[in-house]
């Protein structure tokens, strides 16, 4: 595989984590515009862990997931009392607060005569674990997709379980779920924390792929894209968000047919799909049809 293909596939894998994070919240009935904040928390946490304290990437990724889950839990405590548009606005505000915190964060250590660590708007350079450990681009691609495959398998297991049924019921009708004995608030808080951890894992892997992160990486564009991927791809299966990422990054961007007009095409595609297929290409009806056909 050439550098370009490896780069495109790595980007598809990395952005899939945040798309899956948004998808998880959507099927639980909440639309978050703030998952990019937890992606950023993961990126900064893992970057600090490896670049400043020499912690290996697997451990750093675990720490990032913990930090992402904790941040999402804390954000969820007040925001999950809200519904619909109000929840969406509150999550966007929380993500912007996190981004501004990253801008104010100056935390550097002198390592080998060079300051290393987050330096506010100047960004955070030198997240070199991958290079210091001789991981080649193809190896990192395998790592990203291996982690993504593990997450997808977990999703598939959950979707086939009682937990998955509860999750979908919660998204469809929270009152019914409450009457059936589900503690709706507690359950949603748990879902928000898991979604935060998932976004943070993506952020940790992104930081080490890029070696440089800055607060602007985690602004609203990333959040809107992650939601759009879930909505384009479909909410019927975990493969929906991946299809959304594939359509945008793989087809629209990868082919470079539309060049600078891609964002206009992408926005139009989202608008058309929201009108004609509000639950995306792979919605529940298509997934059930596919299951009947191939089961």
């Amino acid at each position: 595989m050439d550098d370009y293909t490896v780069g495109v596939l790595t980007n598809i894998g990395l952005i899939s984590f945040i798309a899956l994070s948004a998808y998880l919240l959507i099927i639980a009935g909440e639309m978050s515009f703030g998952q990019q904040g937890f992606f950023g928390v993961g990126a900064y946490t893992a970057g600090v862990a490896t670049a400043m304290y020499g912690i290996p990437l697997p451990v750093a990724a675990g720490l990032a997931m913990g930090a992402g889950a904790a941040a999402a839990f804390l954000v969820g405590l007040p925001t999950l009392r809200l519904r619909g548009l109000y929840f969406a606005m509150a999550t966007l505000a929380a993500a912007e607060m996190l981004r501004i915190l990253f801008e104010l964060l100056h935390f550097q250590r002198d390592i080998d005569g060079e300051p290393v660590g987050p330096d506010g708007t100047q960004g955070f350079r030198g997240i070199r674990w991958v290079f210091e450990n001789g991981v080649e681009p193809a190896g990192y691609l395998a790592l990203v997709w291996g982690m993504l495959a593990a997450v997808i398998v977990l999703f598939l297991l959950v979707e086939r379980s009682r937990l998955g049924a509860t999750l979908r019921m919660l998204g469809e009708d929270p009152e019914l779920a409450r009457m059936l004995g589900v503690h709706v608030e507690r359950f949603k808080l748990g879902v928000a924390a898991v979604a935060g951890a998932l976004a943070a894992l993506g952020g940790a892997l992104y930081a080490h792929h890029n070696t440089y992160i800055e607060p602007r990486n985690f602004d609203i564009m990333l959040g809107v894209h992650s939601l759009a991927y879930a909505l384009i791809g479909g909410l019927g299966t975990v493969f929906g968000p991946l299809l959304g990422v594939l359509v945008d990054i793989g087809v629209l961007e990868g082919s470079r047919v539309f060049q600078g007009y891609r964002m206009i095409v992408f926005g139009g595609l989202v608008a058309i799909l929201l009108i004609f297929r509000p639950r995306g290409l792979l919605d529940e009806r298509v997934v059930n049809w596919l299951k009947r056909r191939f089961a």
Partner: protein, 133 residues
């Protein structure tokens, strides 16, 4: 004493972070084709020009991470020591994080933040601090 100093110097030289402290500079001029820039990359290590590296030049937009896949190009060695040349095909004007991926004797990645416009490219300055190369 001399033996200790020699050991210290040897240890410092063998430490990869010291051996690979990189700096880079970019000089890009627009071509006749929109969004294609003719770029010269100057690389140095510990203040000395870094020649003989295999340099691949890519780019990503900080405001839209992972959403752009600029095709990485292999840079050719330039005329001056530590200089490399590459044609960068961007998708739009604006701020780009130019990624210099180094292989060969030095394995590393350097990110340079530049604002690309119709006149060329200039380093991004944020706040009151000079940009770090």
């Amino acid at each position: 004493m001399a033996k200790a100093a020699f050991c210290l110097v040897l240890a410092l030289l063998s430490f990869p972070a010291f051996a690979q402290r990189l700096q880079g500079e970019l000089d890009c001029k627009p071509t006749k084709t929109d969004f294609i820039y003719d770029c010269k990359v100057k690389l140095s290590r510990n203040g000395q020009p870094l020649s003989g590296a295999q340099v691949t030049v890519g780019a990503d937009m900080p405001s839209m991470p992972m959403a752009h896949n600029v095709k990485p190009v292999k840079a050719k060695a330039g005329k001056a020591p530590g200089e490399y040349e590459a044609m960068l095909d961007l998708e739009m004007l604006g701020e780009w994080a130019v990624k210099l991926r180094l292989a060969g004797p030095v394995k590393d990645q350097l990110i340079l933040l530049y604002e690309f416009d119709e006149k060329g490219a200039r380093p991004v300055r944020r706040g009151d601090k000079p940009p770090r190369k």
